[in-house]
Each structure stands twice: as C-alpha cells, then as structure tokens.
C-alpha cells in the first residue's frame, strides 16, 4: 500500500536464486569470475561516491548473482566497511558487541568499537541508480506486488533490453493488474518510437490511464512531428485524462480541507466546553494542547522501542495530564473569577505565559522530535493522481471519535446532565443538590483533557515546541465563536467548513491571503450573527 515502505528481506529470494543456479550446474570458472567481479566491486564500494556508483554499475552489468542482495543491503544501509582493512561487512545494528558478517565469506566478527566500521553511504544519484537496477531485476520477482512496483518504476523509462524482457514476459504474466501495467509501459514505448498505426493502437491502450508517464508521453507526442490524425487522437485521450485529473483534484482539495478542519475542530472543541458550557475564556487553552504534545514526546522517550504503541498510550496520558492541570487552574484561579469573564481572560493569559516558560525551562526552548509510527505513515493510493495520506486519515477519524465521545458524555452521563444543568441555571442546579463546584472543576478538566488529546494529534503534524499553543489559540477561538458558543455541533460544522474554505481559497489566494480572508469573513459574520452559526436561543440567552 505505501509506495516507499522498505521491501521485505531479500534472503529467501537469494536462497532460491542460489538453488536455481546450482541446478543449472554453474561451472567453476564462472564462479571464479564472479568472485573477481565481487572483489572489484568491493574495492570500489569503499571509495568516494562516484566510484561506488561504478561498483553498482559493474555488478548490474556483469549480472552478478549477488547483485540484488548487495543493492538491497546498500539501500537499507546495512553494508559497512572496516576502516583499517576496507573489508566489507553486513551489519544489522552498529553497536559494540553486535556481530558483523563478512560480505565475501560470511564469517562473523563481533564489533569491539563501532568507530572501526563505517557505513557505505549513498547519495541521491546512487539511490535512483539502485532503485532502477532493482526494478529491472524486480521484473522477475515472485511477489506480484513487487513486479507491479518494478514495472511502474520503469514506466516511461524503458530501454531496449527491458523492453524485450517485458515483451516476452507479458505473455505469461499471470496477474491482470501487472499485465495492464506492462501493456501501458510498452504502449508508452510505442508512442515514443513507432509508426502511425502502432501509435494509434498505443493511444487506444493508454486512453484513460492516470499514470503520470502516460500523460507526459501524450503531451510529448503532441509536440512531436507525428501525423495530425495521431495528434488528434492523442489530444482526445489527453482531454479525457485531464478531465479525470481535475475531478480528482477537487476531491483532493476537499480531503485536505476536511483534514485541516478536523485539526481545527480538535483544537477548538475543548474550548467549546470550557468557553461554551462554562462561559470561561481560557487563554491557556493553547498551552494545554501543548502539554498534550509534550506528553506524547515524554511517552515516546519512555518506550523508544514501541513507537507504534506509544501514541495509543499517549492519548489517555495526555488527557490525564492536561485535565489535571486544567482542574488545578480552575480550582486555583478561575473559580474566584466566575461572572467576570474579562478578568478570567487576563488571568488565564498569564497562566499561558507561565506554562510556556515552564516547558522552555524543563525541555529547553528547542523543538522536540516526535516520531510518526509506521502504521500512521504512508498513503492509501486510490489511483496514481489521488491518494489519501494515512496520518491525516487517522486524524480525521480520531477527531470524529473524540467528538462522538464528548457528545455521549454530555448527553448520556450523569456528569453531562449536571454540567448542562449548571450551565443553564447555576442557582437552580445548586438548589437541586448538584455540587456545582465539582461540576465546574470536572467540566473544566474535561475540556482541558480534550485539549491534551488534541495535542497528541498535533504532535504528529507539526512542531512540538513552546510556541505550539499560541499558533492554535486564535484559530480555536474563531472556530468556537463561529460555530456558536455552547454548541458542540456548531464547533464541528464550523471547524470543518472553515478548513474546507481555507483550502478552497488557497490555490488562487495563496496561503496567507486565504487565512486573512477567512478571518475577515468571521469578523463580518459575527456582526451579522453575534451568536454564531448555531446560537443558544431562548430566555437564557436573552439580554
């Protein structure tokens, strides 16, 4: 699924390869020649980059049996050489005490000082060179996925021998998907060099394919000296493709908008509770988000070997941390300021400054790096021009999850009932025996906790640093005010629509102007509807 995931270990294939070669009964001289090739390559590999490139070229050209294995080792950065004698070793983990396998005779050595061994590093040229080479080899691979990847890699980049390889493999290619790709590859080839008839036929085959090389080949053809009728066909095919691309482009924008929106919702929804339900302006909200992000960081530090799980652990942890801090704030400061919203605003702003400086002093002003777990990285590829980024997808889902959870808490649990009671009529609720003090504290804790959870999500997208909070506080206020205070649904709708609006504007207005336009829009909107999209109506809201 994800295009750039490291492919599986090569060893089984290698073994199989050896088997085949043995059955073919390879002669001894041949093997001697191989060893000699390997020696040459090895000598080159420990030199500078361009010699290393030559080494790769050599292996590929001589079609050495271990080429594939060695290339993969290079790709995965597991090939090292010993500084003193330039011998090549395979090292899985370069730590003192770990073992290093000699590339040539496979004998094992244990590493005394890791400084003795130096990795055979690559640069981008070599990376491309190797992936090309592997692709050509990959054509013969067992795993159809791999074959598909290989062909895709070769789309529009065929040379004589790869063409011939394709031509005689395409007949007995079992998997349809791969076969189609092969057809495409060859068709592109025909498009470039072929007579009118083959070109026309090629266009037939290419029609409607979204693979970028196809489009490029067609555009190239239009510029070439092909016959008019061919060009006409090509133009038609091209139009068809562009039509599709435009359509998927719109889908993509929508997706981007939703994912940006869901981030806004996550950032804002905690505020919707503290601000909306309790009428408390919490300027420290952004910093509560920040605390959540830092919690994620700490958790990852605690369990460095389980990055994947760490996120899941971080969610409840972040909730607790932020919630506790929130409750502390409520008990320590805010409860003295109920009914004085503007003072609350100032006090909480002070708190936000303190929290910022606190993390600066504890974690240093530098940003902290939070790793993205594998299960969150990668793409869901719908087609070559439209793919969904996994991390964003998870965040959208996560956002909805949090939202539903909150709605349930507020609508179905006794706490929620009491919260709504207190928020509607404090005195009456107290009279009916609701301990409004604790309800306040818990509500504020809930809102803060949600902020913390949002922090976990944000840690996957942006900097984890002392300024994280500030960059989101204004946006989240906008979302809440726009959506209508005290209304979760409002927040959801507002967040998502603002996100989409932002993304729709961005292409023609540019990122900055888009943001400005959205802000101005909100300012004007508040003039028209001072209570937001979904205002609380009724006598409570009057006056």
């Amino acid at each position: 699924m994800p295009m750039f995931k490291p492919l599986a270990r090569p060893l089984p294939f290698f073994a199989l390869w050896m088997l085949i070669t043995l059955m073919l009964g390879l002669s001894l001289q041949a093997r001697a020649a191989e060893d000699e090739t390997l020696a040459q390559a090895g000598a080159l590999l420990v030199q500078k980059f361009d010699q290393r490139a030559d080494a790769v070229a050599l292996l590929v050209e001589r079609d050495h049996p271990r080429t594939q294995e060695i290339l993969r080792l290079l790709q995965d950065g597991e090939l090292y050489y010993r500084k003193d004698d330039d011998r090549l070793f395979v090292i899985k983990s370069a730590e003192t005490g770990a073992e290093a396998l000699d590339l040539l005779d496979g004998s094992a050595v244990t590493i005394e000082k890791k400084r003795d061994f130096k990795k055979v590093t690559l640069n981008n040229q070599m990376r491309n060179q190797i992936s090309q080479a592997l692709a050509e080899i990959g054509l013969k691979a067992e795993d159809p996925k791999r074959r598909a990847a290989a062909v895709r890699e070769l789309l529009g980049a065929l040379n004589e021998d790869t063409v011939s390889v394709l031509r005689n493999r395409i007949g007995n290619e079992p998997v349809a998907e791969v076969r189609e790709l092969m057809v495409l590859a060859l068709a592109i080839q025909d498009l470039e060099k072929g007579d009118e008839a083959t070109r026309l036929q090629a266009i037939e085959q290419l029609d409607g394919s979204l693979e970028p090389p196809v489009r490029n080949a067609l555009t190239a053809l239009l510029g070439s000296d092909a016959a008019d009728q061919v060009k006409r066909q090509a133009q038609l095919a091209l139009n068809g493709i562009d039509e599709k691309i435009r359509y998927y482009g719109m889908l993509e924008t929508l997706y981007f908008g939703l994912s940006l929106g869901s981030v806004l919702v996550l950032a804002g929804i905690g505020l919707a509770i503290t601000f909306g339900v309790m009428g408390v302006i919490n300027m420290a909200h952004g910093e509560l988000i920040m605390l959540g992000a830092y919690t994620t960081y700490v958790i990852q530090q605690l369990m460095p070997n389980h990055i994947g799980a760490s996120i899941l652990v971080a969610i409840p942890a972040a909730f607790m941390v932020s919630a506790l801090v929130g409750i502390a704030i409520e008990r320590g400061v805010i409860r003295f300021l109920y009914g004085r919203p503007l003072e609350t605003l100032l006090a909480t702003f002070g708190i936000s400054l303190v929290l910022q400086q606190a993390v600066r002093s504890i974690f240093s002003p530098l940003n902290r790096s939070v790793a993205t777990p594998d299960w969150m990285s990668g793409l869901v590829e719908i087609n070559p021009v439209f793919s969904l980024t996994l991390s964003r997808l998870y965040i959208i889902l996560f956002c909805l999850l949090v939202f539903v959870a909150l709605v349930v808490v507020l609508k179905r649990t006794p706490l929620g009932l009491q919260v709504r009671a207190v928020s509607q009529n404090r005195a009456m609720a107290r009279a009916m025996g609701v301990r409004s003090k604790w309800v306040d504290a818990l509500t504020f804790g809930l809102g803060s906790g949600v902020a913390g959870v949002a922090g976990v999500a944000l840690s996957q997208l942006t900097n984890v640093g002392p300024n994280l909070g500030q960059s989101y506080i204004i946006d989240s206020f906008m979302v809440v005010v726009f959506g209508g205070v005290g209304n979760l649904w409002g927040t959801l709708v507002a967040g998502l629509s603002l996100g989409v609006a932002n993304k729709v504007l961005e292409p023609w207005a540019g990122a900055v102007l888009a943001k400005i336009l959205v802000l101005v829009f909100i300012i004007l909107f508040i003039q028209k509807r001072p209570r937001g999209l979904f205002p609380q109506r009724g006598r409570a809201a009057e006056g």
Binding site: N124, R215, A371
Partner: protein
C-alpha cells in the same frame, strides 16, 4: 542596570535624572578590560536559535582570555537580551555602545534585527559582526557579514542540483520575508540565465510558522510528476520546516523523487525533527558538524566541554562567529588598538582558519570568503557532505542577477570607501555619515 534602576524613579518624579547621571560616570570608570558586546535574543521566539550563539561567544572569549587576552588586557563579555523584539534590538545596541562602551558587538540573527540596529552602529561608529546567512543587498562600514551571501549558498546549491543531479524543473518555496524573496529573485534570474524556461520554475511563499502544507506539497508532487527531474529549493524558515518535511514524508515524496535543498535547516534545527522522512534531502552551508578536519574536532570537543553536554550539535552560524571573532582579534592585534576606525582599516585582508580546514579572508566589501558544502541529511541528524566547491567563494554584497544592484559595488578601502558605489552613475548613495 543602574540607569534602569533610576528609570523607575522617573515615575516618582524628576529626581530620577540626578541619581541616573550619577550612576553614569561611575560606569565610565572600568577601563582595564576590553568589552565585547553580545546581542542575541535569550527570550522570545528567536531564543531557540540565538541562545546557542551567545554561549559560543562566551566560550570563544573565555578561550581567548586563557590565551592571555588581547593587547595584554582581559576580554569582558557584556550580554544583553533583546528578547526577539526588533525595536529592542536597537535600544540594546545603543545601550551596549553608549553606556557599556563595548569595542565590538557580535550579534543579531534575523535580517530585521540587523536592519533595526544598523543605523545605531553607523551613528555611533561601532562594529557589528553578523553571523547568519542573509539576502545580501547591504554593505555597511560598521558591519562585518561572516554568514553566507546568496552567492555563497544558494547559487552553488543550484549549480550542484543542475549539474550533478540533472534537475530541470525548480520549485522555489520560501517563507514570505525578505531573505527568501531576494534569494528566490536571484535564483530565478540565475536559472533563466541558464536557459530554464519560466514554466519550469514554480515560486511559492507561505507565512511564518505555516503548518498545513497539504495543498502545497501535492502541488509540488504534481509539478514534479510531469517528466522532468524536479527539485525544491527551500528558504522555508524555522518552525515551518517540521510540518513541511512531515507532509513530504506523508505524501510519499522521497529525496530520490524530488530532493529538497534547504538553506535554513542546520544541525540545530534537525535536532528537533524526526529525521526518518528527511534522509537524502539536502542542505547547503559553509560548514557541517560532520566535516572531517582536526580544527573542527577540536572545536566540537571544546564546545562539548564548555556546554557540558555531549549531545549538543555545532552549526554554521557558530562557525561564522568563530571566524568573525578570530578576525576581530587579529585585526585588533594588527592595529594595536580596539578603536573601531583602526580595526575597520586593519581587518580587511585578514585571514584566519575556518572550521573546514581552510582559511577565510575578510574582503573589502566586509563579506568573507568561505567554501560551499552540500550535505545530505542522514538518519542520525547529521549531514553527509556530497559536494563542495573546489576553493573558497568570496561573498558578494550586491547580486549581479538583480536589476537594482548589478551596477553597485562595495569597497571600504580608500579611496572609494563606499558600501554601494553605482558604477553607472558614479555615485555613492545611502551614506549618512
């Protein structure tokens, strides 16, 4: 600080002026040391980058004092905190020069902070050593630019991409402020002069701290999928980088497909990023921590022992301060005095070792010569040098690729002694001293 104390009294009445000025001439007294001003933000948004430079300077001064100081006197650092607030930079600069009577100031990071202090240094005719790569288009009698000018970073990087990686399409992505704007204008002109077609150049600007890169990255992806080899030249600033690289990774753009060469991402910035998705992307600097040179190893060791933390990295602006400080020291020795005017004359032509094993020289335009290195990001947060200029490159204050400035030259030696002399009109403009 004493004057400040008096400021509070100002609330209580005019009494202040008395107390204040008494304190003033107490300050006059101490003259047995040479004072060096350090003007880096220790709080606010820029503290992230600048605090390190403050420590670097303190280390350098300490070492110099161990070597017996300068002209038989000890060096005394004077640290102030302009708090990432641009007007405050000017105020603190004035404080350093007028009140603390420092002989030279090392500081500033952002262009705007430099622009803000520039008039102060020219008015009071003092010296500023500015250690960060910048957009050029400036040459002041009183400022020494030890960071890279565009022709010492951007242009060579583009050459590398064009010649070694065969890049044909270019995305110039930057944060919307003067450094990226100018750099991109220069690059655009340069690329066109190399025959790159307009439709093969895509320019994009984003606000500071931009965090949602989805659309832009997908545009870059599309732009790069149209057959020609594409690269991104990134002048994206500080905080915006992390989400940018994360998004690149998320959308499966690998360094192999579309390499990104950055001018503002160094070891310090990488230490705050999960480098896994960045491996293979590039950065152009005049120094990398990974550079293999004895002088560099020595510097790193003394840095680690000074800061008492083996994990702290070194980066390019630190090297710039290292060079600048040593140049100043040499110039003072040569002039036999710390008098700014004398040092200004003496320092041109001074050359000192840089950390990449070569020498850097102060040019008459107050910029210096440096080698240019291209490094590939490795998964350990370090850079692997993949290319470097054969010799050193001299910093060019006025780009030859910009309409306004291609006729302007800078030479602070007599008889010209002008920072922006227009060879066409033969006029020396913009000097108000």
């Amino acid at each position: 600080m004493r004057t400040k104390a008096s400021k509070s009294k100002l609330l209580l009445g005019s009494v202040s002026t008395l107390a204040l000025s008494v304190s003033m001439n107490v300050a006059m007294a101490a003259e047995d040391t040479i004072k060096v001003g350090i003007l880096h933000s220790l709080s606010g948004t820029m503290a992230i980058s600048e605090t390190t430079l403050k420590d670097t300077m303190l280390m350098l001064i300490e070492e110099q004092n161990k070597k017996g100081g300068l002209l038989g006197k000890q060096l005394e650092p004077v640290v102030v905190d302009p708090a990432s607030n641009w007007p405050l930079f000017a105020e603190k600069a004035r404080e350093l020069i007028e009140k603390d009577k420092v002989d030279a100031v090392f500081g500033c990071w952002t262009s705007v902070s430099r622009k803000s202090v520039l008039p102060v240094f020219e008015e009071l005719d003092s010296l500023l050593f500015y250690p960060v790569q910048y957009e050029g288009e400036e040459s002041s009698k009183n400022v020494f630019y030890t960071g890279a000018a565009p022709n010492q970073q951007a242009v060579p990087a583009v050459d590398y991409l064009m010649n070694d990686l065969g890049v044909e399409r270019w995305v110039l992505a930057g944060t919307d402020y003067v450094y990226p704007r100018t750099t991109n204008k220069i690059l655009e002109a340069y690329l066109k002069s190399k025959g790159v077609a307009a439709e093969d150049i895509m320019i994009n600007y984003t606000p500071f701290g931009h965090s949602d890169w989805q659309s832009i990255v997908s545009d870059i992806k599309k732009f790069g999928s149209e057959g020609k080899k594409t690269a991104v030249v990134s002048t994206i600033n500080g905080d915006a980088n992390v989400p940018f690289y994360k998004e690149l990774g998320a959308q499966g753009v690998s360094a192999g497909d579309i390499p990104v060469v950055a001018f503002s991402v160094g070891e310090e910035e990488l230490s705050g990023i999960d480098t896994a998705p960045l491996v293979g992307h590039l950065a152009a600097w005049n120094y990398f921590m990974s550079v293999d040179a004895d002088v560099n190893d020595g510097f790193i060791d003394s840095w680690h022992s000074y800061i008492k933390n083996e994990d702290r990295v070194t980066n390019d602006p630190m090297e710039a301060h290292y060079i600048g400080f040593n140049m100043w020291v040499e110039a003072v020795k040569k002039a036999g005095s710390t008098d700014p005017a004398a040092v200004q004359d003496a320092i041109v032509g001074v050359s000192v070792p840089n950390l990449t094993g070569g020498y850097s020289t102060m040019m008459p335009n107050h910029h210096i010569t440096k080698p240019v290195l291209i490094g590939e990001i490795q998964d350990d947060g370090q850079f692997e040098v993949v290319w470097e200029t054969s010799g050193t490159v001299a910093g060019d204050a006025w780009s030859d690729y910009l309409e306004g400035s291609k006729d302007i030259i800078s030479d602070w030696r007599a008889p010209l002694s002008c920072g922006n002399y227009n060879t066409k009109t033969g006029k020396c403009s913009g000097q108000n001293f």
